[in-house]
Symmetry: C2
Subunit: 186 residues, 2 copies
């Protein structure tokens, strides 16, 4: 019986985020998330999804990419990886309790059912995303799962502001490229 596990981002991540210490606009934040998603496809290290957590002034706190297959972990979505790493770094189980709040999560694509639930518990104040649900489903063939119909207002009720469709075309292009390259669907 095992009682612990380690989750790791791909080895190329630190070099990739070196140049992105501060992203002071929504577009710069999503640009980094999309760049991570594209690199994850290029490096064949996982699905076509990237995410990052930023503190109040736009300082980068953590990054995440999808590493479900490589890490043998269904939960290793980009958003969950970035949020877990931010919390571990800041030693809190809700980001709103850390100095530097409010925190923003930027994701290259609209979150799936699991990630929408995760966001509700994460302690972030803003979710930014690029590609929309229909891009993810139509272009890359992924199932987004049982998302609540009113997920945006459910998050709003919990103090989380949502803004989607930022750099949508660039984000969607990565999904298209992944599908064209025969990427695994899971």
């Amino acid at each position: 019986m095992i009682t612990s596990l380690r989750l790791k981002l791909p080895t190329w991540v630190p070099a990739e985020i070196q140049r992105a210490r501060t992203c002071d606009t929504d577009t710069k934040k999503i640009s980094l998330a999309v760049r991570l998603s594209a690199k994850n496809v290029g490096e064949k290290s996982g699905g076509p999804f990237g995410a990052a957590v930023f503190a109040r002034g736009g300082e980068l706190v953590s990054a995440g990419v999808n590493c479900v297959v490589g890490q043998h972990c269904f939960a290793a979505h980009a958003e969950v990886m970035a949020l877990m790493l931010a919390q571990r770094r800041l030693r809190v189980s809700r980001l709103c309790d850390a100095p530097g709040a409010p925190y923003v999560l930027a994701s290259s694509a609209q979150p799936c059912a699991m990630c929408v639930g995760a966001l509700a518990w994460s302690g972030i104040s803003t979710l930014l995303f690029g590609a929309r649900r229909r891009d993810v489903q139509a272009l890359a063939g992924f199932d987004e799962g049982p998302v609540a119909a009113d997920w945006e207002s459910e998050l709003a009720e919990r103090g989380i502001h949502v803004r989607g469709g930022i750099l949508r075309q660039r984000a969607a292009a990565v999904l298209r490229e992944y599908a064209a390259s025969g990427g695994i669907l899971y």
Copy 2:
């Protein structure tokens, strides 16, 4: 910047599951999950939730308890911990791909929004649970998050059979005890 993290169950877990190598009925499976939830409250190692994954013959594959606060990890719900540990042990990112399928997850309580999404990706075939959503909300004061209204049929469409309310009174008693002891809500 950190790029990896370790998630660990409380140190008392291995001794607690020593006697439960095989649970060949739904009731025995939930009984173990509820026992884990009660012990987690008694040991003050996390929220009042326990879970376990079982292979086809009822063999115990992994166990989980809520360790959100202790692990500084919003995602460390009992169900997610048990599922992640099962996948790591079996070296698959979907349990249906492992020998021993179909797999069952037994949880002491109805899953929250994040865990419902997680179940859809986990590769299990059956979800069993004890306490119902209203017990969790009314007795322990936890928010279950933005769960899709038709979550059971959404899971059924993905091949996951759901059976809830097993040993409900025993499971609900643990929630009541947690609330009475002034346990943290998060």
